[in-house]
Symmetry: C2
């Protein structure tokens, strides 16, 4: 467990971080007030929010294509409970307003990956998604680092890699673990 330091704050010897599983503990101690707070910085992503143009068009790709079930939906956002985090598909103008930033571009410089359990599933899932509003960017083939993968863009041009990576185990709950 590592202790990190904020500028203008100091670490007090009185501060001890609670023991939990593998977080980084940041001890904030005000130089002025000598009050202190412990924050546990978890290595954790809570939500991925994709800016979209049309809820029903996006919904078709995720619900009918991937076969996923929304856990919440209203007239501007749909949430899906994923493997220890949430996926949100939100109207782009609402995301821009929340972020206080305009001009969000598509396609953005990122990719999401959905790993599957076998090599043969890669192209089958790509083909399936292409029938529900997706567009194949790269048909399934073998990358230099091993395994098998292809890419499909969702209806809002967000890229999904569909990959078989035999080195990285996927638990029955969908939790993915790195192995070298």
């Amino acid at each position: 467990m590592s202790l990190l330091l904020l500028q203008n704050w100091d670490i007090s010897s009185k501060v001890s971080c609670p023991r939990r599983r593998a977080p980084t503990c940041i001890a904030f101690v005000s130089e002025k007030t000598t009050s202190h707070r412990n924050y546990l910085m978890q290595q954790q992503i809570s939500v991925i929010t994709l800016g979209i143009a049309d809820l029903s068009r996006s919904r078709r790709f995720y619900v009918e294509g991937f076969g996923w079930s929304p856990v919440f939906e209203n007239d501007e956002i749909i949430f899906y409970q994923m493997n220890g985090l949430m996926l949100g598909t939100w109207l782009g103008r609402a995301l821009e307003a929340d972020m206080q930033r305009t001009g969000l571009a598509r396609p953005g410089a990122f990719a999401l990956a959905h790993n599957v359990a076998s090599r043969e599933e890669v192209q089958a899932v790509l083909d399936r998604l292409s029938r529900f509003g997706g567009r194949i960017l790269r048909a399934g083939d073998a990358p230099p680092h091993g395994g098998f993968r292809g890419y499909v863009a969702d209806p809002d041009d967000h890229a999904w890699e569909i990959a078989w990576n035999p080195a990285w185990p996927i638990s029955p709950e969908g939790f993915v673990t790195f192995r070298a």
Copy 2:
């Protein structure tokens, strides 16, 4: 458990999907060969890959700012083991080559969120990240839907929401669950 159908494939009554926790089961049965395959479509994201311009600049934000530990790094990519999925930061030109697509734009139409355990942590984490190459997009304040949040862009202009959402529990392992 729902059974979904691929075009040009049919569902056989002989096909039964294994029982696991909450996946959608897709039974693929070839009309021509009568061979069949069962695929379990997990509601799962395996990897988030961010296209970046400079590895060491990005590393500073994630390793020194967030305090996260890489699980793998070479001269073009760094992987972080997150809560049941991987975060990858990969040189943008390599991501474009892998995706067979050029012109990936920043800022893209998406946001990642890192939820914290208390309201007061939101601004503290935003301030901390801004000292390690981040740029505040929105200072912490209360959104209409409750809680508290702000936004910070990483050194490659990818948006992170830092949020306190008391409705969504976070387990000690960092797994986030939706609650209405």
